[in-house]
Symmetry: C2
Subunit: 222 residues, 2 copies
């Protein structure tokens, strides 16, 4: 089991938020010393979903609210012994990565955030797995309200646009973007504003009647 966890982070003091993911440095062979996706082994009395949550908590301390099965990777030569890896992917919101809760674990230097678009050579087939997860994220941001998985409960239109820009890897026109999301009917304006160095910006929230991502019959089952 491995998990690709995406968050929006400002890395190395950069201006623009990037899609980032935490990686774990391997402490044993194969691939000792290389960076790899957080993960672990499925226990005999544990469902796949439960194993994904547990291995993620054990390796990174993170407990994302959005965690979904991505794909089973089973190429014969992906590992020295035959290993089929059932990979999950997760989105984690900025307010779920409080410095208090998470950074101590990360301070071990064996867990670190990386820019998803500029990864080193990872262990096993993990570069390929991240590429596939990024493709799924880009795809899904078009037809579901999955961007919410990377945002706090209330956000400005500029926050939302930043998520889309980071995922799609290109700048979006602010006026067009505002028109499109206002027409989509998925956002509810609140009567609160964010104030600060810029002029006050209205805070929005997502319409909770719409699921984050429709998983169909599996939503009820798991």
């Amino acid at each position: 089991m491995s998990t690709v966890i995406f968050a929006l982070r400002r890395l190395d003091g950069g201006e623009a938020a990037r899609v980032a993911l935490p990686l774990v440095r391997r402490t044993r062979d194969p691939h000792e010393g290389q960076w790899a996706l957080p993960g672990g082994w499925l226990d005999i009395a544990e469902s796949l979903d439960a194993a994904a949550s547990r291995t993620l908590a054990e390796t990174t301390g993170l407990a994302p609210s959005y965690l979904e099965q991505l794909y089973a990777f089973g190429a014969v030569d992906r590992s020295p012994t035959r290993v089929v890896s059932i990979v999950y992917w997760a989105l984690i919101r900025a307010d779920e990565i409080s410095e208090d809760a998470v950074e101590p674990l990360f301070a071990t230097e064996n867990v670190q955030w990386f820019d998803a678009a500029a990864l080193p050579r990872l262990a096993f087939d993990h570069n390929e797995i991240v590429d596939y997860a990024l493709w799924r994220l880009r795809n899904k941001v078009g037809y579901s309200r999955i961007a919410h998985g990377l945002l706090a409960d209330e956000f400005t239109l500029a926050d939302l646009r930043e998520v889309y820009e980071a995922i799609l890897g290109r700048r979006l026109d602010p006026a067009n973007f505002r028109r499109q999301v206002e027409n989509s009917g998925t956002l509810i304006p609140t009567d609160r504003f964010r104030t600060g160095s810029h002029r006050p910006a209205r805070l929005y929230r997502y319409n909770q009647d719409v699921e984050l991502a429709d998983r169909g019959p599996l939503d009820a089952v798991h």
Copy 2:
């Protein structure tokens, strides 16, 4: 490994085509005598995709052109011993199910087509798996040209509408449907017509520049 194979069939001499799938009668415990999805075990030196194709051919004789990983099912109690099943799904076109090639195998009475909307109680969690596959099919028919996976190379608009009606489980207005698909730009009219008891109907084909279903980076890898 198990596979859900969807085809469009006229069952029991019914008028309307239905989404149907072949099931295999189990000849041993657990669930001896019950119907189950075709499948088998992963070999040690075989990729997941290869195992899905092989087990499908061995159990049903079918070799669908569209075969894609669906989901890994791993509930602890889904089988008497702990078994994680990596499930594939396939679409098979009417012209891939020639009576010559396939029906002899089916004549063993241990393989049979069933209406996907009216299944008996299946072995293991296979009803749940079929429900999930049907949900994925309905979902995907909206935003990709996956309906093609159930059609011959050339088809009339009535053929195409029949596929959509069978998948969505409701009648569609012929004039609206024609306008929508003509506006979608995915169909190319040929200069051939189907003649018969009705007035001649133009044959169309799909624009092959568009992938049947975009699988992203995995298209290149597998």
